[in-house]
Amino acid sequence: MRLTPAARALGVAAALFPLSLHPAVAQSDTWALTNARIQTVTRGVIDKGTVVIRKGLIEAVGPAVAVPPDARVLDLGGRTLSPGLLDLTSSLGLAAPAAPTAGGGGGGGAAAPPGGPRPGLDPEREVARELKVAPADIKPLRDLGITAVLVAPSRGLFRGASALVPLRDSVTASDILRAPVAMHMGYQGVPGDYPGTLLGVITYQRQSFYDAQRQALLLDRYKANPRGMARPENDASLDALVPVVRGQLPLFIDASNENEIRRAIRLAKEFNLKVTLVGATEGFEALDALAGSSAVVSVNYPQPAQTTKWAYRLSQRRAPGDSAASAREAQKLIEGNAATLYKAGVRFALASGGSRDFLPNVRKAVAAGLPASVALEAVTIRAAELAGAGEILGSIEAGKIANLVISNGDLLSDSARVSGVFVDGIRYEVTPPPAARAAGGGNAAGNLPPAQIGGSWALNMTSPQGPMDITMTVTQNGASFGGTMTSMMGTNDISEGQIAGRTVTWSMTLQFGGQSITLNYRGEVDGNKMTGTAELGSFGSATFTAERKP
């Protein structure tokens, strides 16, 4: 029996993806994209060819494909057609995380939390059920060439099951490409409650998987022979983890730095879990642990001086003395992460990590040694495979979903501009980016002189623990600054103060009761006013407004 490629693909998709929700076959037009340079990703480049789209799928691809009589013809005039990009690090359409609640102190070592699920401890959460996406949020991403995103909450320990979402306007649950894709997990605890720190977080993970293993055993035993056996408790949290311990649902672990990566791999080994690391920013430091695993590598390169004390950490390992050289060296290593992982044989996709400079950052990875063809695969077919959608997305092949990007020249070349996007065969216009961003590679701040922030500031912070008034004194020296912050917690020194244009970042380490936490601030200055956010370690995050005192 001869099937049309589209029908065959649908059949394949249905057979391989029983978990897929109803496939989104919109009643879209039939298109013939002619005179295109086709970057198929999986089957090389067709210098001049035609792609036919029908009912949301790619019907035909090739140098000598006949244009169907009912097709609308779009002559690309030699422009490049690439598969739509996938970004596997997105929180699109999810409500902002609720402020973590400080629960009861608990006496006598009671381990069970009171009441229902707590934020970040709800593996039963299903993104597909709560997705609410506004077209205004979708368009900026799609304009970058991204046609599908994997949506999961960005914080928390057990975050729930993700969904692969096509970037159509007014996308709803019925349009979802695939759900659940994976269970998502991270290393944030519940401030003021158990697990409050990394110590508790890792133990909570382990205890949960032991509990889930037992739940799987009970369910199996009950299914085989329910007579004479107490029925297993209906526990939504545990039931959500059962497919993970059975190896049926992949576990995506948000692990950026070296130690998180090693911890994630240890957990995977202890419970024989199918793990994909998300972030993996310091993967180059943990190649031995990463061998044989897969990763979603974020390209939102942290500034060495501003995040996890990179310059400091790396200077411990390299030539002492020259901190500027250390920072440059660190930056080189960070941007070369993907290339290093590639050479080590790690299977990975590249993802934005939440940065709008997705493609410019991928280009940096290429500049740092990642072959361009591998980079393109990593944002298309590899990402599709890691999302369990390699059969329906990620390349330009007959039968795949018609998610396509039109650009002038190779998508990863410096001068490439995205001029059109197809999602599920629907054509979307692209608004050209502002000139400044396009010219400066998205780093407009780099051209501005550092804002002048010297003086005394009254800073009002709203944190999960309540509001706090802070007096901040700043002594500026060019693009860096020092000073102090005084609050009810005492007076503490500012460290790593940096000013890039109007963006100000600094850190402060707070000591209390034999513990220390480092708070990382980021603000935007507007004259004598500043607004921003603060990452409070295990205490979550806070927002602040500040005003310079006259």
């Binding site: 381990a111 158990y194 990394l198 110590l199 133990t203 130690n259 090693r262 390992r317 002492p320 706090m468």
Partner: protein, 463 residues
Amino acid sequence: MRYSVLLVAPLAAGTLAAQGPARPDSSRPAPPPVLSLPIPAAGTLVAITNATIITASHGTIEKGTILIRNGKIAAIGKDVAVPAGAQLIDGNGKYVMPGIIDAHSHSAGEAINEGSRSVTAQVRMQDVLREDAIGLYRELAGGVTTLNILHGSANTIGGQNAVVKIRWGLPVDSMLFAGAPPGIKFALGENVRQTNGPQIPGRQQRYPRTRMGQEEVLRDAFTRAREYQAEWKAYETAKAATKKGQLEPIPPARDLQLDALVEILEGKRLVHAHSYRADEILMLLKVAKDFGFRVASLQHVLEGYKIADEIAAAGTGASTFADNWAYKLEAYDAIPFNAALMAERGVKVSINSDSDERARRLYQEAAKAMKYGGASEEEAIRMITLNAAWQLGIDKMTGSIDVGKDADLAIFNGHPFAPASRVEMTLIDGRVFFDRLKAPTLESLIEMLKRRQRPNTTSGGAQ
């Protein structure tokens, strides 16, 4: 390159060598042959010759030799023949002592206190260690080879400890001390009551608020542990009685917290208890007796001198500060004679740091026990070596310079208790993990800066 820190030392040495003979201190002896890192091949021989050897177990040997084979001490004495091919470390004028053991450390912990509950026996320090914590390197430079990395003192039953050897430059997993019995942190008194320090806004206060409550927490926890233990025993019995073809019984739910507590009841997990006052210590010893376990060490134990006999009778060690006191109410009755007085009454005493800073100079802290209370030199040495090893249950493997033990050694340029002495080299399992001549020390940094300010010196140009 995975762990390029291993390159730091040769790199710094190379920088200095480029300047010819102008070493930071040209009167120093030539460096010993470079020992290869990482793991020495099987049969690797190292000999430290002609050194003053402070054994900590059987006195001091003048002009002696230590022979190391495969990371273990193979021979010690004045007349040890050095086999051909052994790598030599010239010990002339040097003092070798056992690698220092810090029985109370929080180095390298990315989190210290899971203080959210009164009992967190389930959490483990080994899960949260980071191998790049610079404190580790500084401790190595102070002759420390082994650390008891403890959970903090926020709650009555804290987390599980990690005993590590400071194999600086290797992944943190390979720092864990193989064969060290597992341990756990308990805490009593003011820290648990949360009466010191600022209150975090919005944070609820946690039970217990008194020392009475702390006893209740302990008794409640071990009562639960006994029930859990019985549950598992019943399961094992039922499982053993299962006939062929019959379905095996379903095991009880595994509880990581109770697992750890049962291990304490079974004597498999050592209790290290943060405590200050005599009354709370007596309470803990009574609870331990009632539940049939031994407390391996009391930590801080600043009032230990008041109840030294009771501590000794319980077979419990005491790990104290040399002379810290009055930093909170429960530390007011501290006296610097504490260590020596407890030792005199037969308590195995160690001096600990509880601080990345003090840990670098524990040998000076130990010396204070001679000054205050008149401990013998060997007794004072044991307070940072063999006694600490005993408290951690690793005294068969390390803690003294004896044949068959791990070659964990600190080499000083003078007597460790002399004020100006400092560590020249630290060995763990016979491998040199710190060598002052090759380390990126202040001296080598100053030399680098000088060179940068005099850019033409290498070409013999302008002065």
